[in-house]
């Protein structure tokens, strides 16, 4: 109640000042002294003119203390050599029970000498009692009319105009506002939306990637990746046991023959790989290891058109790798891929479009390193300078598709296809400082993270 009088509106009407006073109170022992006299006086009174045997005297209640005090005060004397035994005699004829008098004075709140008070306190005859109290006085705007201040402006107050007369509580601006319940989008997919937008802004059309299961033909062979390549191994690729194979009749027959012969003997200006190409390897169903399989299908389709039309295409979707799992690697993740197919494209164009693309991600300093991909030549790894880590880090891979891949499809000889790719997870983890990929994707993700993840601003580093 007191605090509330000091808070808010009331502070102006009522002043409350905290005070305390300390008084001495008699203990029970002290009270018995007032009633019956102190132990020493009672003992003194028990000693007659003829004296009393000490051992008799000591039988009295509180004799030990009383006797010791009476001796100190000089009221009694012992004759140790008395013929009947140690005997106590009065030393003075009269004694005044000073202690009792002092206690009486204290009880009636008369003033007592401070030093004597400490003695009484030592004998535990008195105890201090603190009383805290508030001195309440009228404030500057004291008013006997009772009025409760409002917490909020209401519709009713607006209606009847009573808001003009009312007083309002002060608002606690230091506290947080009410938590807002909402729905939330997943952080990785917010990043995906941004990448999608970047591609669309640059005129790239989206490829249809809703096809997780691929066959070796489109995932590897059409890309001129040889059949004994380590990436086609069971420990890198997920093979499907059911349905195990693609029906050979469902693959384009003429094109398949061209792919086979290019692998085996070359052609189109190539020496080829000079090994025995097996259709059974091409028929094997797998979970796609890259969305480049879709790019291959799209380029084949493009090549079947009457007249070649240049294109810019992209995809962002799931891919699967059967690799060792660790903090930054899962069996499934998202690949981002962009490609441009046009006549007379060069590495200069690839570098140009990469600068344009990465500039939208707030990255303006790029470096390119020669690399190797089975299906691109030239190939370039893309590096950017990370100001936090103070070093160049790899941010993607790129290259120009090999003629052995494009020419068997029927793509015109002067058409070059430049392409690049990166993972969606890696830049997301770097941006949000997430160290373990399982904290970003999968069922173990902390939903609080999802709900507190800010607006995705890719170009704001």
């Amino acid at each position: 109640a007191v605090v509330s009088t000091q808070s808010g509106h009331y502070g102006r009407d009522i002043k409350a000042e905290q005070k305390q006073i300390s008084v001495w109170e008699l203990t029970d022992e002290g009270k018995s002294f007032v009633a019956n006299g102190s132990y020493e006086f009672v003992l003194y009174s028990a000693v007659t003119k003829d004296g009393i045997l000490q051992k008799e005297l000591m039988k009295m209640p509180n004799a030990k203390i009383g006797f010791s005090k009476a001796m100190t005060l000089g009221w009694l004397v012992i004759d140790k050599k008395h013929e009947d035994g140690p005997t106590v005699f009065r030393k003075v004829d009269d004694a005044t029970d000073v202690v009792k008098t002092m206690l009486e004075d204290i009880n009636t709140q008369k003033k007592v000498d401070e030093k004597k008070i400490q003695d009484l306190k030592k004998r535990k005859l008195i105890t201090p009692v603190v009383t805290k109290f508030y001195l309440v006085t009228k404030g500057t705007s004291f008013n006997t009319q009772i009025e409760r201040p409002e917490a909020d402006l209401t519709a009713d107050m607006l209606q009847d105009g009573s808001w003009k007369e009312k007083s309002f509580k002060e608002y606690n601006f230091k506290a947080k506002g009410a938590p807002i319940t909402s729905g939330y989008l997943h952080p990785l997919l917010k990043v995906r939306t941004e990448y999608r937008r970047i591609f669309l802004d640059m005129g790239f059309s989206e490829m249809p990637t809703n096809k997780f299961v691929e066959n070796g033909f489109w995932n590897f062979d059409a890309l001129f990746q040889p059949q004994q390549h380590p990436a086609r191994d069971a420990h890198d690729t997920f093979f499907i046991s059911n349905p195990e194979m693609t029906d050979a009749s469902k693959l384009p027959a003429d094109y398949l023959e061209k792919v086979k012969s290019t692998h085996e003997n070359g052609g189109y200006g190539s020496t080829g790989y000079n090994y025995d190409w097996k259709i059974s390897e091409a028929q094997k169903n797998i979970l796609r290891t890259h969305t480049t399989a879709v790019s291959a299908r799209m380029l084949y389709k493009l090549a079947q058109q009457e007249e070649f039309r240049p294109v810019k295409m992209f995809s962002i979707d799931r891919v699967f790798r059967n690799e060792t799992l660790d903090a930054t690697h899962l069996a499934e993740f998202h690949q981002i891929e962009g490609l441009v197919a046009d006549r007379n494209l060069t590495l200069g164009h690839l570098i140009g479009i990469l600068y344009a693309f990465f500039k939208k991600l707030g990255i303006e300093k790029l470096k390119f390193k020669p690399a190797y991909n089975p299906y691109t030549e030239p190939s370039m790894e893309i590096f950017s300078y990370h100001p936090g880590l103070k070093k160049w880090v790899e941010i993607g891979n790129s290259g120009m598709f090999r003629p052995e891949m494009l020419l068997p499809m029927g793509i015109p000889k002067d058409v070059n296809v430049i392409a690049w790719g990166l993972s969606l997870e890696r830049p997301t983890m770097i941006k949000y400082g997430i160290n373990n990929i399982r904290e970003l994707i999968g069922h173990k993700v902390n939903l609080n993270m999802v709900q507190e993840n800010p607006i995705c601003r890719l170009n704001k580093v």
Binding site: K211, G348, P378
Partner: protein, 552 residues
Amino acid sequence: SSGINAEWPLRPGFEDLCFDFGVELDDIVEEEGITKFKIDIPANRYDLLCVEGLSQGLNVFLGKTTLPRYTVLRARERLHVDGSVEGVRPYVVAAVLRDITLTEDSYNSFILLQDKLHQNIGRERSLVSIGTHDLDTIQGPFKYHALPPPEIKFQPLNQDTVMTAPQMFDIFRKNYLKPYLQIIESSPVYPLITDVNGTVLSLPPVINGNHSKISLSTRNIFIEVTAKDRKKAGIVLDTICGAFSEYCTTPHTIEAVEIVQADGSTFSSPKMGSRIEEYDSAELCLKSGIKTATPEQLADLLTKMCLRASVAGEKLKVEIGPTRHDILHQCDVEEDIAIAYGYNNIPQVLPDLYTIAVEQDVNKLSDSVREELARCGFTEVLTFSLCSRDDVSVNLRIPEAVGGAVQISNPKTFEFQVVRTTLLPGMLKTASCNRNMPLPLKLFEVSDIVVKDTLTETGTKNYRYVCALFAGKTSGFEVVHGLLDRVMLMLDVKDYHIQQTSDPMFFPGRGADIILGTKKIGHLGILHPEVLEKFDVTLPCSVLEFNLDPFV
């Protein structure tokens, strides 16, 4: 990668050199007082897999040396191939490194290169394997043939006694050679290389004989390469000879071996051949975008890349030697020009192509639906496409459903057994893992599921599904029902209704199919408590799941 001891000094400069050349300096470690550089080599550059090859490549790149010319001397040794190897390991090539001096370093490098070649191009020795022998301990002509295992008897490398093939295989089954046994074990005959006296040089691809083992004092090395792939055998032999012939008294000379095949025809090995290609010098720059180089400059650039080139009128004559088996096409040469010129020196230019972007309708609609679901107060999850067989069947009380799921043949754990046919497992697992969230828990996901479909090319098909889950103190059935109504309103769909189903996944009397027109496109309901138990969810849940494709 090539782990090497090097005395190359400046580390900072070295890293940049590697970057420009196209190899990656991965790590620098101090081991026993020696600085070792761990360098990642591109998978198609076998010539760079040893320190000799890498340093040659880098020195030629820096202009410090020129690419050597290899001389193949007339064969003095012969190797006869018997038809018996045809079924087990048909191909063999061989070479001799005469008057060679190996130091401890070069000896170690020699062994290491063989290991690497075994591992990558040899595909763990199954396609190609190498045997190297002290020629002075053996006597040609040599024979490559195959015998029944019990008839094979010799002292294998690092063993103390002579033993038969079955006996040594029993020992090898317990050591590091175990993976190589299966390459030939199923064959009735094992391949063998022997000399004129019957001394066994090797039992490829498993083990060499102890008799002919090489040491630091070996002066003449007989190299044999056996294989299932003829081309790869040639590449391997060329690579070894190219790198280590520098230690012969006359460097870069290799002595041929005459191979006599089963049909009597002969050929000389190794090829160590070069081919000369002629390219139009203007054409060679088309891919790189280099505009300002003269043919002479182009020739210099290529020579820096170990592709000796010279100008011949309008054309460029390029010699592709035995260390550049990675050059398959003109584009490989064009890449080397660009590398030598420096990728980072190529001027950038934007493709002059105006295109208007078109989105995939299913993705555009999915994104819009996702936004609507978030507006309804639901939290989006992103879960795995792969799960266990039980997750899509038994755990949902529909054991027969596993028949429609695409199955993985080599899952590492049961979490990778099938591709999900429903988004429910991921949802339920998320609910189970997020017990500390305030209730009710409202989740959604819009993502692909995969089912078998005999009509498609691969026999499988993706469907885009929408799934929502409500978990709370009460089931929230009316909430997911309301969500369905809301989503249908947002899709501008009026022609739908729900009708009760007895699907065992749902609590009795609390499940319904969603019918669009006359077709079932999904369902909703309160999950059966046994389903909740299987997914370790302790709250009642209502779910909604339907296929979005009909609305696209």
